[in-house]
């Protein structure tokens, strides 16, 4: 079961702003989902290969060739701010 702090941390990682008043309700909902997961975990899956994809096919490959042309002017029409060909965003330094 998740603690309130864990709910706040998950919200932070997902960049979702959760007002303090909603944390407890969200905790309850998430714990409900975790309850379902616990039920599924009770099933004996020994010897079952984990499924990587719902479709039972393998990846098709593309030849290594440049097929795209420069369309940055078109793509940048939708950007809030552009300068010298760069997308401008609020400064984030890690």
């Amino acid at each position: 079961m998740l603690t309130l702090d864990e709910v706040r941390r998950i919200a932070d990682l997902a960049r979702i702003e959760v007002p303090e008043g909603e944390v407890a309700a969200l905790q309850q909902q998430l714990n409900g989902i975790f309850g379902l997961i616990e039920q599924m975990r009770a099933v004996d899956t020994a010897g079952v290969e984990p499924m990587a994809h719902a479709i039972d096919l393998t990846q098709r490959l593309r030849e290594d060739a440049v097929t795209e042309e420069d369309r940055h002017a078109l793509y940048q029409e939708g950007a809030p701010q552009v300068e010298a060909g760069l997308y401008l965003v609020p400064k984030v330094i890690e």
Partner: protein, 484 residues
């Protein structure tokens, strides 16, 4: 360096794969284009786009797996590594997590003549992120997504390295190998090959200590300095009664130190899960066999051949096989000379390598092609010129003055091997240096060298030194009244 402590290092290396297009889109990977001109809809994560895997990236991963003797997974899975950063438009990086494309393998390194096997944990395919530029945008960051989606092979070693020197030897060997098998251009200035180092210290025999990860080391010199600094920092911390905290650190080349970037508490929880946009990657035994057949002879095998087949010392063989360009050059010289591998190796590792270092170019881009060097080596071997003149001829060849034979004639460097001519010079020198002759007779060996010097001088350096020695010995024997 730090008495009583054992250093434990593992490296994570990102090698940019030398494909023409990106790992999941048809945009170009060429370096240095104007910002965002090589960022396609897929690289920008526009709504509704889907990634399609590049066969060229897969082939290069297979080649790497074969070259290190790892297991190439018949089935591997792409996963999303979730984090938010402006140069990662999707909000996740496509990588591999539980089922990587290559598992295991090893790299053989040599430090000061001592060989060591470094085990690899895994190598997996992933995409690179874009670049953030933080200056000159009135308080904002500029984002260039040309690099977003560039294919990378992340190569993870086991914590088998025990010093900064070993870490550098490992990184250099790996760097040479990825270029050798043609999967990465190895250009470190352009970021095609970069290392993260996990460093910890412990008392010998004790369990592993807490590690710190040093990010983005893009030169061998920085790698060595950053590890040395980090080891000192951790040892001092523990000896002063403190504790190492698990964290990510950055190397600051200006200050020559590592500094904390984020601690474990702030560490990202990447919440990996299989990417539903990509099906599992299947690699057939046929695909692996195709790459195995196309593989060049690997450096380790070539090194053995140089030792066993050419009779070269191990150190020569190691240096010659440090790069494919140099190894190929050496082989071409031996072939053109028609044998004499040791003499060829001496020239390739001596004058030729010094020239390459001076010009900062690879062996295949130097101004003296293998056939030209072979022409010079032949003239040394057949006694046409002395070893000393040969260096002058080489310098002239490097300066573009033509082939060895033409330079030898033009400069009049052909050595005198005519016994009669040398005897005449020797007679002259003996007559004019009675004192030295006397000294030699009195048992002073040094006098002999002085006489050789006089003869060489009189011949203006052209007399064949071996012949001078022989004739001089014979004549001195007569002078001394001993049997010739």
């Amino acid at each position: 360096m730090s008495a009583g402590w054992e250093v434990v290092i593992g490296l994570e290396t990102h090698a940019q794969l030398s494909t023409a297009s990106k790992i999941f889109s048809g945009a170009s990977t060429a370096f240095g284009a104007a910002p965002n001109t090589q960022a396609s809809a897929v690289d920008l994560a526009l709504p509704g786009v889907l990634p399609v895997l590049n066969a060229g990236a897969v082939v290069r991963a297979i080649r790497f797996g074969l070259a290190v003797g790892g297991t190439i997974a018949p089935r591997s899975v792409f996963a999303r590594k979730n984090y938010f950063y402006p140069d990662l438009p999707k909000g996740y990086q496509i990588s591999q997590f539980e089922l990587p494309v290559v598992v295991g393998g090893e790299i053989l390194i040599a430090v000061e003549g001592v060989e060591k096997r470094v085990r690899l944990t895994r190598a997996h395919l992933e995409e690179d992120a874009g670049k953030s530029l933080h200056e000159d945008f009135h308080g904002m960051s500029g984002i260039d997504l040309n690099r977003a989606g560039t294919p990378l092979l992340e190569i993870v070693s086991e914590p088998d390295l025990r010093s900064a020197k070993e870490a550098v030897a490992y990184a250099k060997t790996l760097h040479s190998l990825v270029r050798w098998i043609g999967i990465c251009d190895g250009n470190m200035q352009e970021g095609s090959f970069r290392c993260d180092a996990n460093v910890s210290v412990r008392r010998p025999g004790a369990p592993l200590g807490t590690r710190c990860e040093i990010k983005n080391l893009n030169s061998f010199r920085f790698l060595e300095k950053a590890i040395d600094f980090e080891v000192r920092r951790q040892v001092e911390l523990i000896e002063d009664g403190g504790k190492v905290v698990q964290e990510t650190r950055l190397w600051d080349p200006q200050k020559g130190e590592t500094r904390a970037m984020r601690s474990k508490e702030d560490a990202q929880d990447y919440r990996y899960f299989p990417d539903p946009d990509l099906l599992p990657l299947e690699i057939t035994p046929q695909a692996i066999a195709r790459e195995r057949d196309a593989m060049p002879e690997l450096p380790a095998a070539m090194r053995e051949r140089f030792i066993a087949g050419h009779g070269l010392p191990a150190s020569d063989a190691t240096t010659l096989t440090a790069s494919k360009a140099l190894a190929d050059y050496f082989e071409a010289v031996v072939k053109a000379v028609g044998g004499e591998p040791k003499a060829c190796a001496n020239w390739v590792l001596g004058e030729f390598s010094a020239l390459l270092n001076r010009l900062e170019v690879e062996a295949d881009a130097g101004p003296v092609p293998p056939a030209a060097l072979a022409g010079l080596v032949k003239r040394v071997l057949d006694g046409t010129i002395s070893g000393k003149s040969a260096k002058d001829v080489f310098a002239a060849m490097a300066a573009g003055e033509g082939e060895a034979d033409a330079i030898i004639e033009a400069k009049g460097l052909r050595q005198v091997s005519d016994a009669g001519a040398i005897e005449a010079i020797v007679d002259e020198v003996l007559a004019g240096n009675a004192k030295q002759v006397e000294d030699y007779r009195a048992g002073k060996e040094k006098a002999f060298n002085s006489l050789v010097g006089q003869v060489m001088k009189a011949s203006r350096g052209k007399a064949n030194p071996a012949q001078v020695n022989e004739i001089l010995k014979r004549k001195l024997g007569q002078v001394a009244g001993l049997a010739p």
